[in-house]
Symmetry: C3
Subunit: 350 residues, 3 copies
């Protein structure tokens, strides 16, 4: 793999593939082990501004890539070239760009991609670091936090060409992968105690940044809204499957936890060139990072995946549901006596 | 060790031991290296609601396991089975349950253990992951953060059958172990500026959760109260002893630090299946995790163990004291000149 | 190296060197690999209280070591002895001392170094742990957070005698090193909405601590002031150079990130006795720690190094600039199409 990353290619002769991006929490079709040498992977991101409901009665002008918060996950292999077409529709009210934490130079590409409404830009960059990485809009000055806390961020996964390895260096493959983008919102309330709704993104900026300076969000959500990944949208898996969870937080620390499961393998900071941690109950995402964790499900039933500040998970929204099918294993857990009245007098005899 | 964990046993034939739980910061008697094969370890947790004083003038209806904040540390070996009897006394006002981060399935057992006042339940689960792990009450919805920030959490240590290993894979044993449970409280004040006292737990719930949404606690304490582990209750050790510190925070990030000492070995996320970090000045506990650190004391005197946000340590309460006996070593530190007036004029001559 | 650390020396016979401390972000001249055996390294720290401007219109009585926030970086090798002369000028208004996280015993030296105005003390201690470590004033009780959040902290780098090693155990050398001290300030405002200015340090203490209990700083800065390391003060490097970034935060968590670059090697908690993480987009500094990261620059241009909570970076001040000279590499990144109007109608044809 390392030759591929180090070598400089005659880029014009490399094979090209168009990657069809999909809405999170899903991830685009991809090979876990690269077939052949480096490729140019073409992706298209469109900067979409739209009014979305974060929670009942709480609307925000979301600034997005491709209309979702977070933006789509991109997947390439180490040594591949990402060829991004960034399109800002003429209906937009603001300039946007993109800073890829996985890229090298020009502020991660932000310095070469600023597009006004009605413009587009094409940037090619080489994925030299394996791991999962945040990308986000960074149009300069106070626009940077404003766009990021308005939802304008996503992630890219740069797989090692020969795929993931476990803590002992053995190849490990996943059966499913999900991309969880955690978003902190800072939504101002009016004098009436209701969340304000603004005419357009810029109208709420001063209020929102003033609130944001307090560093306490009003909402912390997965996939753009409280409860977005519950009910019919709950994640699905089967006992015996290995699931890769890619978790990004572009602005604020998070601590992912899978209730009833574990992080069998956790790549710190999302780096696939490091030995993963194992047997983690809760892991950590420093603000401005994407992290990957793998779990092989052993038991069926409902799982809750959340940020384990339980105030943030339950009161601010940072939780999702997952339904796992399969056979229950009494060796791992068994209810020996169902809840029932006990006789305190008898207990005192003991 | 791995055979023991993977194999399914005829559980009915396994040896049984009752573990006598003790109040933190102490830990139950246990073998560092397992004797024989897997056992069933019986533990009893009682859900006790009681009014406690967190700091002078600040009382809270603590929701507890066995009457302490945090609940007791349980100690087993990888491959053992935990057989929990969870008892909710009829005097309780609320339903409680327990989610073990160390367990697999059923929301860590929370889905099978909800007991109303006057009920009890028995749950057996297998400890398949080595490390230190949080357990906590999680009775659903907003009750989850309410019970956890009211003190209803503890930890379990799942030792590798052959004991702990250092960063080079060599066996390491501790002479003492302490369990530090860090608790964040969010205590509302009345119009008179004094902390409110409620008639019963439910009465304060709405106020407390409203305050908690701001994510800034009024108190962050070890062992349930400011100064609980100081004075006569200070921890004790001797020069030359290795001390294992198990630190849990069920809800909020923490950063343990031992003033005057170090983390010689720190198991990230508390996982004993990973190579520990070494020579740490300060380590990290993501909210919803228990972490273990080992230090061999070299010098006598007073030590302060705290969460090294010094505002939290000194103003909110996250600090404890430790007294270490032994011989001072001038090679490690020596005061060569005691504080004394100096002559600035002479100094300027220099 | 280990012999040097373990052995007790006849200290009186060891060679002595005086280390000339310099103002951050610069670091004193030093050898990356130790020449000869252990030395006594003499350093002098003076406790200077001075009114400084953190941001336009925001002044604080900074409590400092040697007049800068942070204090100077000290550099020694594992096994060396630090001989500190701590001087409190008679013009001071307060007692000060120093707790070295790298030292062993006596609260890191704090218990042996408290000096009143007009006094000095000499303390020698042995550097037995390799890594980067915080030092700070800790004069007891509420004075501890007050002095630390007033700027009274710095760092020491204890290099392995044979220098740094990469993740594969191979020697690695840096071409430049910078010391970034991140400081959180909690500056009270008056009824007029302006930051208060006090006559002397003690006058603002009660206000500042009351604000600090809310745990949300008004300013988070590098080198003592918003924008201190920008413009003419921006850091400088060249393509192909390896730069070591030492980042300390004595009180509060941080998440360093280099926009457009990476952490090629990141020593967690700053420990040089551990295998470094690689390919990190963003790394983590628990409050009360110093951490080191190394990056080999590949591309010229402007870099921004910040704490990647973008609210803290842009609105509170936690950002610095770096200018890198050299040749642009189109293999790593190329703008293929400059931003230009596109034809949405044509795009819809696609
Ligand atoms: Cu944007
Ligand atoms: Cu960024
Ligand atoms: Cu409960
Ligand atoms: Cu939990
Ligand atoms: Cu001081
Ligand atoms: Cu300290
Ligand atoms: Mg879409
Ligand atoms: Mg780079
Ligand atoms: Mg990452
Ligand atoms: Mg008890
Ligand atoms: Mg599990
Ligand atoms: Mg743990
Ligand atoms: Mg100076
Ligand atoms: Mg020490
Ligand atoms: Mg350090």
């Amino acid at each position: 793999a390392s030759f591929a990353v180090a070598a400089k290619h005659d880029i014009s002769k490399l094979p090209r593939v168009k990657q069809q991006l999909v809405d999170p929490p899903f991830v685009p079709e991809h090979d876990q082990v690269a077939k052949g040498g480096p490729k140019i992977v073409e992706v298209r991101l469109e900067t979409i501004e739209k009014l979305v409901e974060v929670a009942p009665g709480a609307k925000v002008w979301a600034l997005t890539f491709n209309g979702t918060v977070p933006g789509p996950l991109i997947v390439v292999h180490e040594g591949d070239y990402v060829e991004l077409t960034l399109v800002n529709p003429k209906e937009s009210t603001m300039a946007h760009n993109v800073d890829f934490h996985a890229a090298t130079g020009a502020l991660g590409g932000a310095g070469l991609t600023l597009v006004n409404p009605g413009e587009e830009v094409v940037l090619r960059w080489k994925a030299v670091k394996p791991g999962v990485f945040v990308y986000h809009c960074a149009p300069g000055g106070t626009m940077i936090p404003f766009h990021v806390i308005s939802g304008m961020n996503g992630a890219i996964m740069v797989l090692p060409r020969d795929g993931l390895k476990d803590a002992k260096g053995k190849p490990v493959r996943y059966d499913r992968a999900f991309y969880i983008g955690e978003q902190d919102f800072y939504l101002p309330k009016g004098a009436d105690g209701k969340y304000k709704v603004y005419d357009q993104p810029a109208a709420g900026m001063a209020d929102m940044l003033e609130l944001a300076k307090g560093l306490v969000p009003t909402h912390v959500v997965f996939n753009g809204a409280v409860g977005a990944i519950t009910g019919d949208n709950a994640l699905k898996a089967k006992v015996g499957e290995k699931v890769l969870f890619i978790h990004s937080q572009a602005n604020r620390d998070s601590r992912p936890h899978l209730i009833g499961g574990h992080g069998d393998l956790v790549w710190q900071g999302g780096s696939f060139s490091d030995v993963p941690l194992t047997s983690q109950e809760t892991w950590f995402v420093p603000g401005g990072a994407a992290v990957a964790a793998l779990y092989e499900f052993k038991m069926p039933g409902l799982y809750v995946y959340l940020s384990h500040n339980l105030i943030e998970a339950v009161l601010l929204g940072a939780a999702l549901h997952m339904n796992v099918e399969g056979e229950w294993d009494n060796d791992l857990m068994e209810q020996l006596k169902a809840p029932a009245s006990f006789n305190p007098a008898a207990a005192m005899d003991h």
